[in-house]
Symmetry: C2
Subunit: 465 residues, 2 copies
């Protein structure tokens, strides 16, 4: 059939301007939104093609199965030194990848000073700083000990931690207890009222919650998370529903303890005043979930994203304990009155374990009201979640998002998909002041740095050779 | 300028097929989606035009101001006979417009029998029925006493009621306490365990909650509702968030009472097991709000929609205490396993006071997960809310819907708008079995009957002459 003289249509691939010009001339055009993979970089494409095979796909399927089948339950509260196997008297844990005192950011140093005062290892902040600088205390990442902590994430031996068990896989995860807002250790504050509250948490709160949890026998964190995702939480920066559900279900058990009513009263008051209380439980729930995939040869699924305020670190199932790092990015956010961008510390905390597990920023479509806190519109929230389906390999049907017609949360970040699409994981997060002792100055959104994924890709390809 | 020879466009009003035909011929058409008001009925249009003036608009503005400025707070719990001014020993209140024993539906008769047993006025259901039939007890609508009750809505003299005060206008509203799910009085059950639970509620629950509420001094119901609307509730058939928020905030005060810990334990357990607990508080909050507009001459704003299971009744601000009724419609819904449409009682209960106040079915866009309970999709939920803006005169900025970019709930149903558009208020609701003693068989959606609005229109026009 002759082409000349017939009406023809065009399919345009690549640059959109070609399609637009044809359209102006009245020609029917379908534009295909295609871009070369990996930004067209030949070296990256070569590495990608090395791990495009069935072996990696299969390893990822094993990984995602373990992740989706996880059943984290809260079993107890114990002092870190008793709960965490390799924890000892001279070890302080912190958020993110490994970091030395000299490279540590302000809020993390502040939290370390606070921990030293809390432990009774120093009488003044100056003494504490001297002691910490001297190398007396070993600093290790929470993640190296199946633990997670928000912001500075400092856990010292006597601090009480939640013990979360993955009923399916049998592994354990740990997190410290949320202190509430205002001047708190996790944002680098170490004044005497901060230490006083930590001591009350150790002596009274942990005791009471521990006894109540024991009586409740098993608190299903996945179920609370699932219900909270139907109630406007994304379980990272919005935990209002999850906290209320947790509190409500724990109260009858608290009343079954033989504790003095004054302690119960204080505990009930504490729980009723902190909408973020569930955050640390959400994090431990996600940690217990993602750890099931660590060390699965060949798998390109991300198992941890964490920040120490200096560096952002990534761990991948197939590369085990290794960290792939890049400078911690800044957070684009809304600031509390009186603060501005210049006050902000770069991205900080283990709380991005929630995004790693497919909630938090990945589930923002479930939490339109969070945009009042981190910025953007409810429409943006939906856009973020939709975008995250591009870089994940599964939808978690346990975690349904009502506004997306109960579609499961985007779960299982594949390093290959991130490299291919250049779409990086979105993380919503609190912003700490860069100086110790000040606290939270805002909240907002950031992205995991692509460099971490490029380093991981290289290592995965190397290992796979 | 000549028309012939120039390119012309068409604006089509009315039948869409005209526009479609022109479109097929390649002519540019804009279709205006217009229909004759009031279905084109000349009598209705005549009545409408009688109340289209500024006087009605102004009266409605006064009404909506009172509604939007209302600040209902929970102040106490008291026995109905002590709380409700005209309540007396021989009076039982019920849901919906007035109804006699002979016309009463099954579940309401069941609830009346249960109330008689609870009050100790009879020893057996047979005795109770005989007594109730004899005329010994006066039946009056809850709404005639500033009260509301879900489903059968039966309130007898010794039943404890929530006392809600509108801090702004000074008026009071009352509601009974939610019993939970299963076999309960409000669905017409009256077995001994139902009565036993009611007695426990009177002797222990009401006592404990009453003391806690007293200590809390003022519990702001509007604030809880606002937060719950950001957490997936619409505060009629979904109260999971509101109940959790209420429980969490009340717990510290409960612990401040000097009650025995065993009572506290029972109360905490009861509150932790009933996701609908807040419903009755939501209803009293709405009742205290809408009553502020009752009797405002000329106003065409609906102040109550209520059903007694036989009839649906409407009250309008400008016509005061008068009821405009029509047969109660059936509910289109999802049935619990083992039940079907034939088992259903027609629409029942005062809970549609929530829709009257702009939440419930009107705020379904805030509660996408409710569609799992009442049927439809999250998209339908948004459609219902959008539709209700067509028949209301305001958006309640106190009640923001995150998924609609924080638009306020559609509030203030204007009888004129309902008649003009033929769009009737959507109500989501539980479904009771038509026989007494069985209970809830499902949940779903229904519409207020247009006949009620037509009767109200007629009366408004008459009054306005």
């Amino acid at each position: 059939m002759p082409i000349v003289g017939r009406k023809i249509g065009v399919v345009n691939i690549g640059l959109k301007s070609f399609a637009e010009n044809l359209e102006k001339q009245g020609i029917d055009v379908i534009h295909v939104n295609w871009r070369p993979p990996a930004g067209g970089d030949l070296e990256r494409i070569r590495l990608l093609s090395q791990i495009e095979g069935e072996e990696v796909d299969q390893a990822n399927q094993v990984a995602i199965k373990k992740i989706l089948e996880s059943q984290p339950i809260l079993v107890s509260i114990k002092p870190a030194k008793d709960a965490i196997p390799k924890m000892h008297e001279k070890m302080f844990l912190h958020a993110g990848p490994p970091v030395t005192w000299s490279r540590m950011c302000g809020p993390m140093r502040g939290a370390m000073i606070g921990a030293a005062l809390f432990e009774g290892l120093a009488d003044t902040p100056e003494q504490a700083e001297k002691m910490l600088r001297s190398g007396d205390i070993i600093f290790e990442p929470c993640h190296a000990h199946s633990a997670v902590g928000p912001m500075a994430g400092v856990i010292s031996p006597r601090m009480p931690v939640f013990v979360v068990k993955n009923r399916k896989a049998g592994n354990f995860a740990y997190s410290n207890i949320n202190e509430g807002l205002g001047k708190v250790l996790r944002f680098g504050a170490y004044s005497s009222d901060v230490i006083k509250k930590l001591r009350w948490m150790k002596d009274n709160l942990a005791l009471a919650l521990g006894l109540a949890i024991e009586r409740a026998s098993e608190i299903d964190l996945r179920s609370i998370t699932a219900r909270a995702l139907n109630m406007g939480d994304e379980c990272h920066n919005r935990n209002a529903a999850a906290t209320a559900l947790f509190t409500r279900s724990l109260m009858p058990y608290l009343l079954e303890t033989d504790l003095h009513v004054d302690i119960m009263k204080e505990v009930a008051r504490f729980l009723s005043e902190n909408d973020h209380f569930f955050l640390n439980l959400s994090m431990a729930c996600c940690k217990a979930t993602m750890d099931t995939a660590i060390g699965l040869k060949d798998s390109s699924i991300v198992v941890a994203m964490a920040r120490n305020g200096t560096e952002f670190g990534l761990r991948v199932a197939g590369t085990g304990e290794e960290w792939f790092t890049a400078p911690a990015p800044l957070v684009d956010g809304l600031y509390f009155p009186g603060f501005k961008t210049e006050d902000a510390n770069p991205d900080l905390g283990d709380s991005s374990i929630t995004e790693t597990a497919g909630i938090g920023g990945f589930a923002m479509a479930a939490a339109p009201a969070i945009t009042k806190f981190v910025g953007g519109s409810p429409e943006d929230a939906i856009t973020y979640t939709r975008e995250m389906y591009e870089i994940t390999i599964a939808r978690n049907k346990n975690y349904a998002i009502p506004s997306l017609n109960f579609k499961g949360t985007p779960t299982g970040i594949d390093v290959r998909k991130v490299i291919e699409t250049r779409i990086t994981p979105v993380i919503n997060t609190g912003i700490a002041h860069k100086e110790p002792g000040i606290g939270q100055v805002g909240a907002g959104l950031t992205r995991a740095p692509i460099e971490c994924f490029e380093k991981a890709l290289k290592k995965l390809a190397e290992n796979h050779r």
